[in-house]
């Protein structure tokens, strides 16, 4: 059975096509201002590269904050359940998922069958999300892609105490003014994100092994800072960013159509 999953996030839209639990292909595009269009377009683009047509998809589940805009989906399922299913599929040992996306971060505890046992999401604030890192990279005129590597070079991470993105930004600016090294500031930023997320994780109760998903999982600095904070090693799959879409495609298989 060929199924598809679409994950419309705040910054990127992802799609995955599965054939009987094998990943056929995945695609990531930026969401832009029109979430509805992005959902359609990411699937179209993926189908085109796979040389498939919309009719080939037998079931489709939409997830992500824009899930309800995907009007051609057979069902919408939250990203919590989809990430649980996706992570379990990628590695059945996983018991805990930390998903850090553009606008929010969430932690999910799953059982041996991949069923969600408990979860928590960050509140309305951007601190502890990809957006926070983006704002900080801008303040430091650094390239987000190199952010993680710079982190690893730091000797003495600066202390960023503000829990709010806006305040943290001015804190960073004053650190720059004081002549603190970029490496140390960037390391401090990662530690601050890690502190926020680990507080969320501990609220739910960390179960090992842990997997990190979402766009921020590509940032080695963020992963490292979290590993230190949680005192555990964190798995990152090559499909980290499309994990939600894969989970959605998997759950589409279970739909009674």
């Amino acid at each position: 059975m060929i199924t598809a999953g679409i994950d419309v996030g705040s910054i990127t839209a992802k799609a995955a096509v599965l054939d009987a639990a094998n990943i056929v292909g995945t695609k990531i595009i930026s969401t832009g201002y029109d979430a509805k269009k992005a959902g359609r377009s990411v699937l179209d683009q993926l189908l085109e590269t796979l040389d498939m047509a919309a009719q080939d998809i037998q079931a489709l589940v939409a997830t992500g904050y824009g899930r309800n805009t995907v009007d051609f989906a057979d069902k919408t399922i939250t990203e919590i359940t989809c990430h649980g299913a996706g992570a379990h599929f990628l590695n059945p040992d996983i018991r805990f998922i930390i998903d850090v996306g553009g606008q929010d971060s969430k932690v999910i505890r799953i059982n041996e069958a991949g069923k969600v046992m408990d979860f928590a999401m960050n509140d309305k604030c951007a601190a502890g999300t990809g957006r926070f890192l983006e704002v900080m990279a801008r303040a430091l005129e650094a390239d987000l892609d190199q952010f993680g590597d710079i982190f690893l070079k730091a000797e003495n991470p600066a202390k960023i105490s503000s829990v709010c993105t806006v305040f943290a930004e001015s804190e960073v600016i004053s650190l720059i003014a004081k002549g603190e090294s970029r490496e140390n500031i960037i390391a401090g930023i990662h530690e601050s994100v890690a502190a926020r997320i680990s507080a969320l994780a501990k609220r739910v109760g960390v179960a090992e092994p842990v997997m990190m998903t979402g766009g921020v999982a590509k940032n080695i600095g963020a992963v490292k800072a979290l590993e230190d904070k949680l005192e555990t090693s964190i798995r990152v799959s090559e499909f980290a960013q499309v994990n939600g879409a894969i989970g959605a495609a998997l759950l589409a298989e279970r739909l009674n159509r």
Partner: protein, 412 residues
């Protein structure tokens, strides 16, 4: 009568609680009387929601509740504008939104009923929080009226005799204060009668809430939020007793006829903390769409929750202990006992906790309670971050995802 055939869905009509109309009438008359007090020569006292109102009723003083007013402001979605007014004056956003919106109202005379009638004096009982003390001090200065503060010690496990005596002494000081303000003596026979009516009203209210234990539940917590107003404002009056008897009978009838509030009740949930006043409809539809029914809640149960401590024959003194034991003036140990009992009584599948930015004493410790409930009682819990009046603290898409994900857990 209007033509019922015109567009009205008979199934929906059947589910509607008929007493709602009566309730609206009583509340309207109550506010008309309170606002017209200056003409009738009656005194108006502002009192905190958890305060002992019975002596006021016995002295023929009209009690007015800024918190009930705050709830009305929230429900009419006027909270943000009024809170901002208070913030312009320098009150921080961290301050309880009942206090902020009410202060905003005092200054602007705005809000759903054009502001509250001015108080002749103020009664503040700190059994609900410390915020009310400062709030009432501000009101006392602003209106230049006397303030009586009733201090109820926090209960960790026991309420020692010294604490009891401490509150009893204050109850008599409270009565002396009222006698001075009203220029006449307390009629203790009348006081006894008011005490009796208060207990009767509380029992009937509890019976109304207990109806939620039935499957399907004839009413939800969202209905309880609405019908609560009288037990807060008119506790100790015949009117409240009559109303809750009518409401209890209606619930009884619904049970007999098998009328549930949520059409296909499959999942039964318990709500913790104050309502999100500006989103009750949205939330109730959201849960109902998942066939989930909020069959009970800790908030509306708080008033009748102290019934076991009240001795009708010694109302004044037993009331001192009772008012000190309200749900948020006790330790987490006692709270978890209460939760355990409610989870059992209402036979719920999950617990939904509103982490309310405004109400610190209610929200502090919720994560510990959540952990205890999950570990000990093994039922899933959901925490929703919001605020009862200030809509700026509500994010629809985030709340929606949390509820949907929580329901996916319950359904899987």
């Amino acid at each position: 009568m209007s033509d019922p055939g015109q567009g009205a869905d008979p199934e929906k009509e059947r589910r509607k609680i008929k007493s709602v109309q009566k309730m609206k009438e009583i509340m309207t008359n109550y506010y008309i009387e309170a606002k017209g007090a200056a003409d009738t020569g009656k005194k108006v006292a502002w009192i905190t929601s958890g305060g002992p109102v019975e002596p006021l009723i016995a002295m023929d003083v009209i009690p007015v509740y800024p918190e009930n007013h705050g709830a009305m402001i929230g429900a009419s979605k006027m909270g943000v504008e009024l809170c901002e007014k208070a913030e312009e004056m320098g009150y921080p956003r961290e301050l309880c939104s009942y206090a902020r919106s009410d202060i905003g109202c005092s200054i602007t005379g705005g809000g759903p009923i054009g502001g509250l009638p001015e108080p002749d004096f103020l009664i503040c009982c700190n059994n609900i929080c410390g915020t009310v003390m400062k709030w009432y001090e501000v009101a006392s200065r602003y209106y230049d009226v006397p303030l009586f503060i009733l201090d109820t010690p926090f209960t960790h496990r026991e309420f020692p005799p010294a604490a009891k005596q401490y509150v009893i002494d204050q109850i008599y000081e409270y009565i002396e204060f009222l006698e001075r303000q009203c220029g006449r003596k307390m009629d203790y026979d009348r006081m006894q009668e008011v005490g009796r009516l208060s207990v009767e009203g509380l029992r009937l209210w509890q019976a109304v809430l207990d109806s939620g234990a039935h499957k399907p539940a004839p009413m939800t917590a969202f209905d309880a939020f609405f019908h609560l107003a009288l037990i807060v404002t008119l506790r100790g009056t015949q009117e409240a007793v009559d109303y809750y008897r009518q409401l209890r009978d209606e619930m009884q009838e619904r049970i007999e006829q098998g009328i549930g509030m949520v059409p296909n009740e499959k999942y039964r949930l318990l709500w913790d903390n104050l309502p999100v006043w500006y989103r009750t409809k949205w939330l109730s539809e959201k849960f109902a769409a998942h066939d989930a029914c909020l069959v009970g809640d800790t908030y509306t149960s708080a008033w009748s929750g102290v019934l076991p401590y009240i001795d009708e024959n010694n109302f004044l003194e037993s009331m001192s202990v009772a008012y000190s034991q309200v749900y948020i003036n006790v330790s987490l140990d006692i709270m978890i006992d209460t939760l355990r009992r409610m989870i059992d009584k209402y036979d719920v599948d999950g617990l939904v906790m509103h982490s309310n930015r405004s109400c610190k004493p209610y929200s502090l410790g919720q994560y510990d309670l959540q952990r205890m409930v999950m570990e000990e009682l093994k039922i899933p819990t959901l925490v929703l971050e919001a605020d009862m009046v200030d809509e700026r603290s509500f994010s629809e898409s985030q709340i929606e995802t949390r509820i949907d994900a929580f329901m996916e857990i319950l359904k899987s």
